[in-house]
């Protein structure tokens, strides 16, 4: 079995060589282009999205699912853009096919992603963030890299799972032994290759290696805490899936103390995790 460590350049080549990923890039390209233009309007973005019926249907399904809990049905892409925000739209344009794959092939990971997204939205609200929906979508795609790894390196992923199970360690640590990197970094590199903004790529890259001195530490802290909470509160989850350590610094960065942590965790335990239809 190949034991070469994975790096940015290797991953970029793999992504370019896989037809499915070329399609993801091509489908998302017009949206990436328009969202990169600071003078573009919501009408222009809506017009581009509406040219892709599949993406239009998927965005409307997501915004109308229990995940958003809206009372009234959203029927226009214009309204969807206003509700979700530009970066969330970009993330979904890129990530929707990955989410569909996750939903059908790895239900555990999909459920964990939906839980993390809902918890991230709650924590971001408690920490007075402005763009909470954008953070929820980052939560939804924070394990994007795990799907990428399973697509390109299925045998090594099985090996990583076995290592984690045999040694009683969290999966991201086993991945570092097998691949030289964890799924967070792989997800961040993938999003970077698709020109996602740095605040999003960093939150995904560093959700298992939180650094309070990094430039986007606050947003990364939300995803890190939400990920640990989602695993900790899933008390019926598989026993091989180990809860990783919560970085104490992430709480400081968000302005929380231990009493806040307890209140947040107890609220999360009462949360109903709404299904996301994709």
């Amino acid at each position: 079995m190949d034991e070469t460590p994975i790096d940015r350049a290797t991953l970029k080549k793999l992504l370019a060589s896989k037809p499915n990923f070329a399609n993801v890039r091509d489908t998302a390209a017009p949206i990436l282009a328009i969202t990169a233009n600071p003078n573009a309007t919501i009408h222009e973005l809506a017009a581009v999205i509406e040219q892709d019926p599949e993406l239009t249907a998927r965005l409307l399904k997501i915004v109308n699912s229990g995940f958003y809990g809206l009372r009234n049905k959203v029927e226009s892409i214009h309204h969807t853009i206003v509700l979700l925000g530009w970066n969330a739209i970009k993330m979904i344009a890129i990530g929707s096919s990955i989410l569909t794959r996750m939903c059908t092939t790895d239900r555990r990971l999909f459920n964990h992603s939906v839980r993390t997204a809902q918890i991230a939205r709650f924590i971001a609200t408690e920490a007075s963030f402005y763009k909470v929906e954008e953070i929820a979508v980052v939560g939804l795609l924070h394990d994007f890299g795990a799907v990428i790894l399973s697509l390109f390196f299925p045998e090594r992923c099985v090996q990583a799972r076995k290592l984690a199970t045999d040694n009683g360690i969290p999966l991201h640590l086993a991945e570092r032994s097998i691949f030289g990197v964890d799924h967070g970094e792989v997800g961040g590199w993938t999003l970077e290759a698709w020109n996602m903004p740095e605040n999003i790529t960093e939150s995904v890259s560093r959700h298992h290696s939180f650094d309070s001195k990094s430039y986007h530490a606050r947003k990364t802290a939300v995803i890190h805490v939400a990920d640990v909470f989602a695993l900790a509160a899933n008390y019926r989850g598989p026993s091989w899936e180990k809860v990783p350590e919560l970085a104490g610094e992430s709480l400081e960065v968000l302005g929380f103390d231990e009493n806040d942590l307890k209140d947040l965790l107890l609220t999360v335990m009462k949360m109903r995790f709404d299904p996301l239809i994709i």
Binding site: N111, G168, I169, P170, L231, A232, A233, N234, Y235, R236, G237, S239, E241, K242, V243, P244, E245, L246, G248, E258, L261, K262, L265, L266, M269, K270, R272, P275, I277
Partner: protein, 100 residues
Amino acid sequence: MPTISMDIVVNGDILATDLIVNDVVLFEAGTILTVPRIEILRALSIAEVTVESRESRGNWLNETLNNIDLRFSYVENIPLMLRMKTWIRDVLINLEANRG
């Protein structure tokens, strides 16, 4: 695993199978039916649910607490994580004690 009418479901019953509505898993197996969740199911006109037998509740709690210990085993020597684990265990133990 009895299938019972929603009329006799009580706070603390545990779903034995995934509850699927319109092809979507609304609540996973193992979900504790708290009062707000029961209200949601009634609002959705769900007629009956399959729950763990009430005699096996003690086993459910012990199995769940053991599972929590296993899931937290990697961080069991970290004081903050140990406290988090205790908070979660306490919620479940209190919920069990207050069941209908």
